[in-house]
Amino acid sequence: MTSLSPVNPDPAAPAVPGPAPEPGRDRPLSRRNLIQTLVGGYLPLLIATLVVFLPPLWMVLSSFKQSGEIVTTDLKILPESLNLDNYRTAMTTVPFAQFFLNSTIVTLAGATIKVILAILTAYALVFVRFPFRNFIFVLILVALMVPPQVSILPNFILIAGIGGKNTLWGIILPGLGTAFGTFLLRQHFRTLPNSILESAEMDGAGHWRRLWQIVVPVSVPSIATVALVTIVTEWNDYIWPLIITDRPETMTLPVGLTLLQNSESNAAGWGVLMAGAVLVIVPILIIFAALQRYIVAGLTQGSVTG
């Protein structure tokens, strides 16, 4: 951390680049204040944003470059034209359209089932009385800590044993149990006022009606958060589909990209690989850009409450 003492002799004003100047303390248009805002406020932001943006930008630019523009020691930043050859090559070298379809099916089916299971489990944990309720919640909490990576070998043996190798259901099934979604929705359901449910109970509404007509409609933002985080993780999931598929017909995009990497191993293949990476990354980037508020909130959940 550098102190900006030359431009900032006043000990009361912040010298750290990050923290903002206290409102009302600075004259808004003084030269010192302007420099301080630029150096302390905008410069670090600009650097951080550039460090994040440049690699994906480079990916997109390179995906349009011919191999002659890539295999050269004289770096060209912009492609000569918006040439789609790399995309064509990527789609014909490996069945990318099939990968895209498989990823879409796995993501949508997996996320839909997971969200429904999470809603049902969270409702039961909060609103239904049954024996060992707290113990079951602890079991779900502990499952949250067990990484899927340590389960791949036993799950591979089980799924391959029942004929799930190279099938879409084999990719989807082991990930369906959801500890994360259940936990997040349970925390939310507990904040709902009891009164709205009590009046419905008096009207004679059973659990099923209370769930779908009251609890779900008032919990849309939380459910959207769980759904979006689930969609992102299903789309990006790699280790399990990598192990359970070895034929292109059932591979998902990340696994297909690995296949493309193996067949485009010379330097001329970088353009094709960047085109493939664009096809994997851009759909999630679009979803993230549109709905980032929910996704960031869902993924950083727990940080504020500890």
Binding site: P19, T37, L45, T49, V52, M59, G276, F288, V296, T300
Partner: protein, 278 residues
Amino acid sequence: MALPNLVLIAVFTYRPLLSNMYYSTLDWTLGSPTATVVGLDNYVTFFSSNDAPKVLGTTAVFTLVTVGGSMVLGLLVALALNAKVRGTTFARSAVFAPYVLSGVGVGLVWLFIFDPGYGVLAWLLRGLGQQSPQWINDPQLSLVMVILVYVWKNLGYCAVVYLAGLQSLPKEVMEAASLDGANGFRRFMAISLPLLSPTTFFLLITTMLSSLQAFDLIRIMTPLGSGTSTLIYEAYLQAFGAYNRAGYSAAISVVLFAILLVITVLQLRFVERKVHYS
């Protein structure tokens, strides 16, 4: 109504933990119909061979450097995002974005940047009159490369969590400190940082758990492992790489799980005691 989910968690999360312990006592080639019970031989082999120091050392270096790197850089970025200037909302989303992108896609993009012949980095180094090192072939350098990319991908998460922590700091305390004449750096060290300790602890645990599970980047950037063989990657390579050593791989998974368990238990104990500054 909770039953389907509970059954799925039991079958695909809890059962594998027990299965791994059982498989770890077998001399078993994946796909072979027969296996021999060998007791703790797989563990003895792992801990008495060259594998253990190498794999445990790689795991320790990878975990410590990625956790430290993404937390320190994340905090610096959070301080930048906390500035009262325009554009912080956009910048916050931007720095978080790599965290949600496919590790496979990101790994390929960076592999191209690191390419010793035609990568951007090689071009920059040539400009400085330097030759690009062979990032992929050198065990040490391949670990450095994977660590750099992992930090790039994950520091946005730390930044956003730290930012939330910074924004929840009590305003009165900060104002009182600045009236006392403490300058920005001192105020940060003496007040903000200690007050952020619950956030720091939360991040330490979550980033450590995810670093220990890092797979996608390592697999795509260094398909053959060696310098980047962490516990999780070694377990994968042993079972699904060239050897198909299922029992040995299961033993490594059990070791990894034991480490994760210790961290989780430590976390629960500390959360009980509340690492708080009051």
